[in-house]
């Protein structure tokens, strides 16, 4: 891991769950993001594959995280993100911020934002931008 100065560690002190909801097995994007967030100073909890929305929300609450990052490449993002957001609210953890990455058609971004998602990223977004956006959103 890189040395963390304030400059290079904009996410220091933040705890983030990186999760793979549903059955999609393409986990390299989630792992790359997890490594990048860690390099930026965050403490990252990676769930592994095939987790239910209920499980992910439960982990987020138990670990007291600031944010949940959901990686979905199977086209099921609308259903799965809604389920995770609902589950977080049900657990009275609606303040945990939700971010989404993966194969997300531009037409679906607005719908995800309406669900309360704070950032939607595709593989083409530079990692530095993702980190900057998260640092801004997580204050």
């Amino acid at each position: 891991m890189k040395a963390t100065t304030q400059e290079s560690a904009p996410l220091r002190g933040k705890r983030i769950v990186v999760a793979k909801p549903g059955l999609d097995g393409h986990d390299i994007g989630a792992k790359v993001i997890a490594l990048a967030l860690r390099d930026a100073g965050a403490e990252v909890i990676y769930t592994g594959l095939r987790k239910s929305p209920t499980h992910i929300a439960r982990v987020a609450v138990d670990e007291g995280v600031d944010a949940v990052g959901l990686s979905i490449l199977s086209g099921s993002h609308r259903e799965l993100v809604r389920q995770v957001v609902d589950e977080l609210r049900r657990l009275d953890a609606g303040d945990i911020k939700v971010f989404v990455g993966g194969t997300i058609p531009a037409d679906d971004v607005e719908a995800l934002q309406r669900l309360g998602v704070r950032g939607v990223y595709t593989s083409e977004q530079p990692l530095a931008e993702v980190v900057r956006n998260l640092a801004r959103e997580l204050g």
Binding site: G22, L23, D24, G25, H26, D27, I28, K31, V32, A34, L35, A36, R38, V44, Y46, T47, G48, L49, R50, S52, S74, G75, S76, E79, L80, Q83, T103, P105, A106, D107, V109, G119, V120, Y121, T122, S123, E124, Q125, P126, L127, A128, E129, N133
Partner: protein, 538 residues
């Protein structure tokens, strides 16, 4: 979504290393090529191809990966592709089918029909292949965790249609090792999975001798971030693990090795790709001959299919992807591929439309019949640079294989999560090189317009009612099948699974004939074997 900020990168330079990190001299002379290592086409060590007559004897199979929604919709798309001159089917299955969940399962519900067709039982297979002559067309299934079950279902549907099993041609991917590393549709732990794969191969060698019961695939680790060198090295290492398992089960290398096939990605570094295939073909032949004593040339043959596109395609200026796929297809042909799948230009972000799918097929037809590059076998053979690059790729591939050996072999590397971690690090490196502009992606990180729009025209929309129709059909099967026959076939399967000496294939075929579902068969096996515990440490 926050729009990517405009980046002002220095203009790119031509580098002196290839995408795989191989040194590329500016000039290469005759001293670089060792003629004694090349050989003739169709002759050991097959550097120049496995057939003496190249594509003149037989063109590669044009095989587009396709499937979505219900069996009815996919059947319609297959018939469309066959009418356009496609010569083989490639079935994309949805994630519930791939991971062994019935559509009714809560985990399955959001994923029904999304990335492929839902195939939960024999009645769906009957619809999927309606009006398609299975004795005349080869069918490839990208299926791994449930490969044995889907293969059993294909046998059962052939039985129902009256097609003799020995006439069936096609491929099941059936390569579980790379699922643990990069693709994620594993179900059972590594060791029982290896047994199931040996079962399918040994059974298939007798029952369907023209069928490829495995396609050892490097494509997915490649698309996830491995270099071309690592892709080939991991694939050959996995291939050797299957050979070892088959030998342990008493298989005859002269027999089973003839039906092993391989599958790779082709990305944009043209000569890395050509050299990768030439080097892999030579290496595999040598391993089969020298390490395992295979004497029949067919048991030394390295037969492979490819996919062009994948993560080399981007959403930025998507029409540029048509050109990328054309370049990659030419590399596949220069490398001697037996089957080619060309991604559609919009495949990086949606299921292709009929329009984009047709361009992808036409690309192959233009390269095959207009460009003339397929006329002479291995036309780059003997090029000073290509032969040197092939030698260098081969040495680099062997070095990675040695690293895996030194770690303790692929199975240990996977169970420990070592290979997965290595791949994640490599993916991060690749991403960082793209972000900094060191790796050029035209229209994305270089040569990007300030006012750029990435629209593709037609957008593919899945029928939102497809999932409901799948669920209705599923319920109808449960209501109408002979429940006692299902119960009996599943309990026989359970008993066979408990005995390592049994081949499970006949039991799975019986289950399929009884209309047992994929989920039921998987649950039965899970009870016996448990599930893979994914190492998630990063």
């Amino acid at each position: 979504m926050s729009a990517p900020e405009p980046r002002r990168l220095a203009p790119p330079q031509l580098t002196q290393t290839s995408a795989s990190g191989i040194d590329v001299p500016v000039r290469v002379g005759p001293e670089a090529a060792d003629a004694s290592r090349i050989g003739a086409p169709g002759t050991y060590p097959f550097t120049r191809g496995i057939f003496a007559d190249g594509y003149r004897g037989r063109l590669w199979t044009i095989r587009q990966y396709s499937g979505f929604g219900t069996a009815e919709e996919s059947n319609e798309r297959y018939r469309f592709l066959l009418q356009q001159g496609q010569t083989g089917l490639s079935v994309a299955l949805d994630l519930p089918t791939q991971c062994g969940y019935d559509p009714i399962d809560p985990m399955a519900r959001p994923e029904i029909g999304k990335v492929g067709v839902s195939l939960s039982n024999l009645s769906e297979a009957e619809i999927l292949f309606r009006g398609i002559d299975l004795s005349a067309i080869s069918t490839s299934f990208t299926i791994n965790g449930t490969a044995a079950i889907v293969y059993a279902m294909y046998l059962a549907v052939a039985d129902k249609l009256g097609v003799p099993r020995e006439k069936l041609t096609g491929t099941i991917q059936n390569d579980i090792l790379k699922e643990y590393v990069a693709r994620g549709t594993w179900i059972f732990p590594v060791r029982p999975s290896m047994r199931l794969i040996a079962d399918t191969i040994l059974y298939s060698n007798d029952a369907t001798p023209r069928f490829n019961p495995i396609s050892i695939a490097g494509a997915h680790v490649r698309d996830a971030g491995a270099t071309a060198v690592e892709e080939m090295a991991y694939t050959l290492a996995n291939g050797l693990a299957y050979v070892e398992e088959l030998k342990r089960r008493g298989g005859d290398v002269e027999k089973f090795a003839k039906r092993l096939s391989f599958f790779f990605y082709v990305h944009m570094d043209f000569f890395d790709e050509v050299a990768k295939f030439r080097a892999g073909r030579r290496l595999w032949a040598r391993l089969m001959k020298e390490r395992y004593g295979a004497t029949d040339p067919k048991a030394q043959h390295f037969r492979f299919g490819v996919v062009c596109g994948g993560s080399s395609l981007v959403a930025a200026q998507p029409y540029n992807n048509i050109v990328r796929v054309a370049v990659e297809t030419m590399a596949a042909v220069m490398g001697g591929a037996q089957s080619i799948f060309t991604c559609a230009f919009d495949e990086a972000f949606q299921i292709p439309t009929e329009f984009s799918a047709e361009i992808a097929v036409r690309t192959q037809q233009m390269i095959a019949y207009e460009s003339g590059i397929a006329r002479s076998v291995d036309p780059l053979g003997g090029s000073y640079f290509v032969e040197q690059h092939t030698d260098r790729m081969e040495a680099a591939i062997e070095a990675v294989m040695r690293e895996i050996d030194e770690y303790g072999g692929v199975i240990k590397a996977i169970e420990d999560g070592w290979l997965q971690m290595r791949l994640a690090e490599r993916a991060l490196e690749r991403k960082t090189r793209v972000d900094t502009g060191e790796t050029v992606i035209v229209g994305q990180n270089h040569f990007r317009r300030e006012d750029q729009r990435n629209e593709v025209g037609e957008v593919f929309h899945l029928d939102p009612n497809a999932a409901n129709r799948v669920l209705e059909k599923y319920q109808r099967v449960l209501d109408t099948r002979d429940a006692a026959a299902v119960e009996k076939s599943l309990s026989r399967l359970a008993r066979a699974a408990a005995d390592d000496g049994e081949n499970l294939m006949p039991y799975l075929v019986d289950c399929c004939h009884a209309y047992a579902t994929v989920g039921e068969m998987v649950s039965t096996l899970k009870k016996q074997w448990g599930e893979f515990q994914e190492p998630v440490h990063l």
